[in-house]
């Protein structure tokens, strides 16, 4: 644990870290009966400070807690409702929220999932050392499981694995959307899910019930708490900027001394093929996602007949919250107020929380297993017209070595030639590809009839590109820092280190809603990028200058190309805001309007970058512009409109395009 928290802050060390080996859990399963697994004797090791308590008791404990009682009184005196009435309301909230974890349901799921997983996946690989560490961790301190979120499968898989390995079953924070599927919702509830409304902004009572519910389970060591730091499934396969609400809740019992420590366990779940792959792409392109309904999920049965390759689950080192907070949080700040009275977190806490959240997501990223296909996808996205198989093979091999040098967690088969590996990958992802006469390319046109409109053609093409990009996205974090440096070198007007750094930090700042870039780590990231590229022989880092080595060109060009879709996409958004908007653009209209704008550019042949159509990219750009105060939100009536500072946006666009070098004054003015 010590190790984990230390390495959390040292990227060098991180790069050299040896990762654990994997075991395939399906292997044994295929050899024996699913029923036996479902009915196996389940005796998980328990937290040493466990306060034994039945799920039904939880409700009483929560309702009678000092904290909730306090808030009930407060709400009652503010609203004029009687406190019985407010208590009743709290009790209803709890009913709606609470899980009803039941071993029998879990056994049922285990049975079903064993069958399903065997059909869906070739293998489900787990690092057993991680399981052993977790086994230790759950006994020592309450545990919070923080899996990455790419698929609905994630939490089913988590519970399934924990059950298989005789670990305590987690309770899982889930979004309310499941609740619309009555049956499935109840099943999930009985397998440990508890449900939270998506938005409850100022609802004090809801917040109190919710936070007390989670804290009670944590304090009593009732079960590991599981939630997704990213808040929702990432549709792009890039990690999402973490949400800190729940993290704050699970940290508070430690801050207030109610727990000696909490073990935070990042878990990285990666899929060779994502079940929702094309759904996501469509969603990003503006086809509304189908409401999760039971029948919808049943239709997923046809999914069962497909091959989704392998999946990997990596249980990271438990991070001791205590070590993480050491020297950063002054716990004395809670001394002067009874602990049941809610207290606004101090700025220190806020920063810490944010920082911790980013670092935990970084840890998820780093332990995410990458398949060879990801490298191929990257090359295919960069070469829209496709590649010859031989050149693809050659470049993939090159890229593989670069990725490894940058610390990628690549699952490359041991005893296969590069071309074998590539043909396997291409086979698995054939639905995205057109392969003919030794030429590989993202699948095009073929499926389209004569009556297809040009718009529809663009849309079809975009689905393929975004699907493929989502695989590339999985590995972007490996190249991100060197790529930012490569772009910075290209756009800086000298070789001077400080010039390059200022470009770097401009880009980093610009893209901090797009990628996981820990706030405050700018210098560290810069140094890491320099170090990696220097080690690779791409750069020479002198005292005041950074110069490209003779052989460095191809690597730098590749890295620039990796970021190119984002640079272009952001510029498109900026251009839209400068050229097309007036005072009355509402927040709601923003995405469709930008999409239209981009579509027109593509149709006119002025834009090649299909990723500009992605609503994710568009929203991230807007978030960045809002953060940089180049755009402001103004409430007009019941609409939120966007006020654009065109000069500022224009100058950002130019800077991104490299037509003008980073201008500190412009930024400063923003």
């Amino acid at each position: 644990m010590e190790m984990a928290s230390r390495s959390l802050y040292s990227s060098r060390q991180r790069m050299l870290k040896k990762r654990d080996d994997f075991e395939d859990v399906l292997e044994e399963l295929r050899r024996s009966s699913d029923l036996r697994y479902a009915l196996r004797c389940y005796t998980p090791s328990l937290y040493k400070g466990l306060v034994p308590c039945k799920a039904s008791m939880l409700k009483t404990i929560v309702l009678q807690s000092d904290h909730l009682q306090y808030v009930i009184k407060q709400v009652s005196s503010e609203s004029g409702d009687s406190s019985e009435c407010v208590t009743e309301e709290a009790s209803l909230i709890l009913d709606e929220m609470a899980h009803r974890l039941q071993l029998s349901t879990v056994r049922f799921f285990a049975f079903m999932l064993s069958k399903a997983f065997k059909r869906l996946f070739r293998s489900v690989c787990v690092n057993e050392e991680g399981i052993q560490r977790l086994q230790q961790a759950v006994q020592e301190h309450p545990v919070v499981l923080l899996p990455s979120h790419r698929s609905y499968m994630d939490f089913l898989m988590m519970s399934y694995l924990l059950y298989m390995y005789d670990l305590p079953l987690p309770v899982i924070a889930a979004g309310m959307d499941f609740m619309s599927m009555k049956f499935i919702g109840e099943m999930l509830r009985m397998s440990g899910a508890f449900f939270i409304r998506r938005s409850f902004g100022g609802d004090k009572l809801y917040w109190a019930v919710f936070s007390e519910y989670v804290k009670t389970m944590l304090r009593n060591g009732y079960a590991p708490i599981e939630f997704f730091l990213e808040g929702t499934r990432s549709r792009t396969c890039k990690s999402l900027t973490p949400k800190t609400g729940l993290l704050n809740i699970v940290m508070e019992p430690f801050f207030k001394g109610e727990l000696f420590d909490v073990n935070l366990v990042p878990v990285s779940i990666s899929y060779e093929r994502i079940l929702e792959e094309s759904l996501y792409a469509r969603e990003l392109l503006g086809v509304p996602k189908p409401k999760e309904s039971t029948s919808g999920l049943l239709k997923a049965r046809q999914v069962l007949s497909e091959d989704f390759g392998s999946m990997h689950v990596y249980f990271g080192h438990p991070v001791s919250l205590r070590s993480l907070a050491e020297g950063k949080i002054n716990r004395c700040q809670y001394n002067l107020l009874p602990r049941y009275i809610p207290q606004k977190p101090s700025t220190d806490n806020h920063e810490f929380l944010n920082d911790a959240a980013f670092r935990l997501v970084r840890m998820q990223e780093e332990n995410m297993v990458l398949k060879p296909w990801v490298l191929i996808a990257m090359l295919l996205v960069q070469n829209p017209d496709g590649l010859d198989l031989s050149s693809l093979t050659e470049q993939t091999d090159w890229l593989r070595h670069l990725a490894l040098a940058f610390g990628a967690f690549l699952d490359w088969p041991d005893h296969a030639s590069c071309s074998e590996v590539i043909s396997c990958s291409l086979a698995l992802h054939r639905h995205l590809l057109t392969v003919s006469a030794g030429h590989v390319q993202l699948s095009v046109t073929e499926a389209l009839g004569a009556e297809t409109t040009p718009e529809e053609a663009v849309f079809h093409r975009a689905v393929v590109v975004l699907s493929c990009a989502s695989y590339r996205n999985q590995i972007l974090h490996v190249f991100l820092r060197p790529a930012l440096l490569a772009v910075a070198m290209q756009s800086a007007n000298s070789n001077r280190k400080d010039d390059i750094y200022s470009c770097f930090s401009f880009l980093r700042n610009m893209f901090s809603n797009e990628f996981i870039l820990c706030p405050g780590d700018s210098v560290q990231d810069f140094e890491e990028a320099c170090y990696l590229l220097m080690k690779r022989g791409v750069l020479q880092v002198l005292e005041h200058e950074i110069v490209m080595s003779a052989s460095g060109h191809s690597t730098l060009a590749f890295l620039c190309a990796a970021l190119d879709p984002f640079l272009q996409g952001y510029q498109v958004v900026c251009r839209y805001l400068c050229e097309e908007t007036n005072e009355s653009l509402t927040e709601k209209e923003f995405v469709p309007a930008v999409r239209n704008f981009a579509l027109k550019l593509i149709l006119a042949g002025r834009l090649k970058c299909y990723e500009a159509l992605s609503s994710d990219l568009q929203k991230n750009t807007l978030a960045a512009l809002l953060r940089l105060k180049a755009v402001r939100k103004v409430k007009v009536g019941d609409q939120v409109t966007l006020r654009v500072n065109k000069i500022a946006v224009n100058s950002l666009e130019d800077t991104l395009g490299g037509t003008i070098p980073t201008q500190k004054p412009v930024l400063a003015r923003l």
Binding site: G49, G257, E258
Partner: protein, 625 residues
């Protein structure tokens, strides 16, 4: 039988021991006296309770009387030597198993102390000749004998005793002076100011905050002002129930002498065999029976202190005043940094008619704390109520002087005993509260019932008077155990805090766990003993006392490890809403946290008082600020 009024006396006799047996009360007077002439000291019938050469009756490098110590005899059995205590001369059959089991210690591995003080290790005194001359002229008793000086260079912190055991002697006072009355002190302070000499008042020497340590950076001559010869009760006022006492008097002497007149102060800190009235005032001490008699701040009516600016005192003996901030509160807790407390008027009470011990066993610590909280809520705490956690409970059993458990291991024996006696109690969780009731018989019995009824609500079962009495008896011998531990590579220390009720459980758990974790991280091989008890209850919280001890064999710098662990434990206490100290004080040991404890402004206030009272920093012990 055990519960009658003679019990009170009996207990005091135990405490008092037989040091310097008193023949009559020739040296105690109840009338105002002039300063005793030095000559009267030679009168054998009035031998003072604490001799100037303390090292002749007390250990120079350990706790307490030289004749009393724990040892493992040839058979490997623990025994307690001497004749002073109830436990003296007895064999403790379970202690060895407990000791080896708890610490992973081994009786083969000894780490004995340097037997005698190596005089050459003591630096020659840095004397201020003119001061010495003037002192002689004023006929104040003084010495610069190295043994006298070394004895007054330390309190009883672990690092202090450990260094002595290893024969390491740091900076020691250059001289010891023994004033015999208030005016002697005035003379000494005047001369110290005149010759710019540093004074450190020395009472019983029981400080556990490094308060008596000579500051390393002090270049002036350091003089230890030993108050032990100012030890008379000057008068007793039965109308107002007060006594006027010289501040050097030692706790047990004060109680014994008042007892002879039918009174007591009721102030009984665990160190009362050796600590002094002046020391109590200077550290804001707390006694075991504060629930009836109050802490030192409740007990004093009037204090006289000699400062470089002159004498500070109030003009009357009114029981309470509204005359601005209470000047007593600048004196109490001043830790020898402002002046010398010379005389104190204290409340006294008639000796209680009846005393009764008791004990309650709880299924776990949480229930025990809940019970104490309820007792405090109902404001019906007995004279003393203490709750030990499971480890201390087991420890208490290891100190049972018994012969029966020859064939069973210690915990097995416990198990058998408690499973038959307290059904359903897990011997690894149960904990015990000890009780002491005082007052008139009828009220005590009624009070007792009330407390046991509350206890029953929290699953507590009465566990007999003997267990209770034994608990309190052990209070005085436990301090001797540390020396035994250090003979076998085990070092330990205790520390305390005060904390609001609702945070007690969390604080106890976290601090204990922090100690375990810190030890582990610092290379301590065997898990330490990390245990606590709640020793005092208040309306709004309680005092919690921690013990920790560990096997330091194999560590290259055990004291350093120990200091790091203690430091971490204190940080943990503060982070969990505990105070910097309930009664041990700050001294130099905890000074780094003063500012955060009392705020910058608060510290500034104290500094400005110090600047006014002692601009030359004559009282330069460097404590507190």
């Amino acid at each position: 039988m055990a519960s009658n009024s003679s019990n009170a006396q009996q207990r005091l006799r135990i405490i008092a021991g037989h040091l310097q047996k008193h023949t009559g009360d020739g040296n105690t007077s109840v009338a105002a006296q002039e300063c005793k002439a030095e000559a009267s000291r030679s009168d054998p019938s009035s031998v003072t309770p604490v001799p100037k050469r303390r090292q002749e009756v007390m250990k120079w490098n350990g706790w307490g009387y030289s004749d009393s110590r724990f040892l493992f005899n040839k058979k490997g059995q623990a025994e307690f030597t001497g004749k002073r205590y109830r436990l003296s001369g007895l064999i403790l059959p379970s202690l060895k198993d407990w000791f080896e089991g708890t610490f992973g210690a081994n009786l083969q591995h000894k780490s004995l102390a340097t037997p005698t003080l190596n005089l050459s290790a003591v630096a020659p005194p840095n004397l201020s000749e003119p001061f010495v001359e003037d002192l002689k002229a004023a006929s104040v008793s003084a010495s610069h004998d190295p043994e006298d000086r070394v004895f007054r260079a330390h309190g009883h912190c672990l690092h202090e005793i450990f260094a002595l055991r290893e024969g390491r002697i740091g900076r020691v006072p250059d001289m010891v002076v023994w004033p015999s009355c208030h005016s002697d002190v005035e003379k000494i302070v005047d001369l110290a100011c005149k010759h710019n000499v540093c004074l450190i008042p020395f009472g019983g020497g029981t400080s556990v905050s490094s308060a008596l340590e000579c500051p390393h950076e002090e270049t002036r001559s350091i003089v230890s002002l030993d108050t032990s010869q100012m030890n008379r009760i000057l008068w007793i006022d039965e109308k107002n129930l007060t006594a006027h006492v010289e501040a050097g008097i030692i706790g047990q002497d004060l109680e014994r002498q008042l007892n002879e007149h039918g009174y007591c102060t009721g102030h009984e800190p665990d160190s009362m065999e050796f600590s002094s009235l002046g020391g109590w005032v200077a550290t804001r001490a707390s006694g075991m029976k504060k629930n009836i008699y109050g802490n030192i701040e409740d007990l004093v009516v009037h204090i006289k202190m000699v400062t470089p600016r002159g004498v500070i005192e109030k003009s009357c003996l009114g029981p309470r005043m509204s005359t601005g901030p209470d000047i007593h509160h600048f004196i109490m807790g001043s830790e020898g940094t402002l002046g010398v407390v010379t005389e104190v008027t204290m409340k006294i009470r008639p000796i209680p008619e009846y005393q009764k011990y008791g004990s309650v066993v709880f299924p776990n610590f949480q229930q025990g704390v809940a019970c104490l909280r309820e007792v405090a809520r109902q404001r019906c705490a007995p004279a003393s109520i203490r709750l030990m956690d499971n480890e201390q409970f087991q420890f208490g059993h290891a100190l049972k002087p018994q012969v029966s458990s020859m064939f069973t291991s210690f915990v097995d024996g416990l198990k058998k005993f408690y499973i038959t006696k307290f059904k359903g109690f897990d011997p690894h969780h149960l904990c015990v509260a000890t009780l002491l009731f005082e007052g008139d018989r009828g009220k005590v019995l009624q009070h007792e019932k009330q407390v046991y009824d509350i206890a029953a609500k929290f699953g507590g079962l009465a566990a007999g008077e003997d267990n209770g009495q034994r608990g309190y008896m052990l209070t005085f011998v436990i301090a001797y155990l540390r020396d035994l531990g250090m003979d076998y590579y085990v070092m330990g220390e205790s520390f305390e805090t005060s904390v609001p009720w609702d945070r007690i459980l969390d604080l106890c758990r976290n601090v204990k766990e922090r100690i375990v974790r810190e030890c582990k991280e610092r290379g301590v091989q065997f898990a330490p003993l990390s245990t606590c008890r709640v020793t005092q209850t208040y309306d709004a919280g309680a005092c919690v006392y921690f013990y920790f001890a560990f096997n330091y064999r194999g560590l290259s710098d055990p004291v350093h490890v120990y200091e790091k662990v203690e430091h971490a434990a204190r940080e943990e206490i503060l982070a969990n809403g505990g105070s910097l100290s309930h009664h041990h004080g700050v001294g130099k040991l905890r000074k780094e946290w003063m500012k955060e404890s009392v705020s910058g402004v608060g510290l500034g206030v104290l500094k400005s008082v110090k600047d006014f009272v002692d601009p030359q920093n004559i009282f330069g012990s460097g404590n507190l600020l």
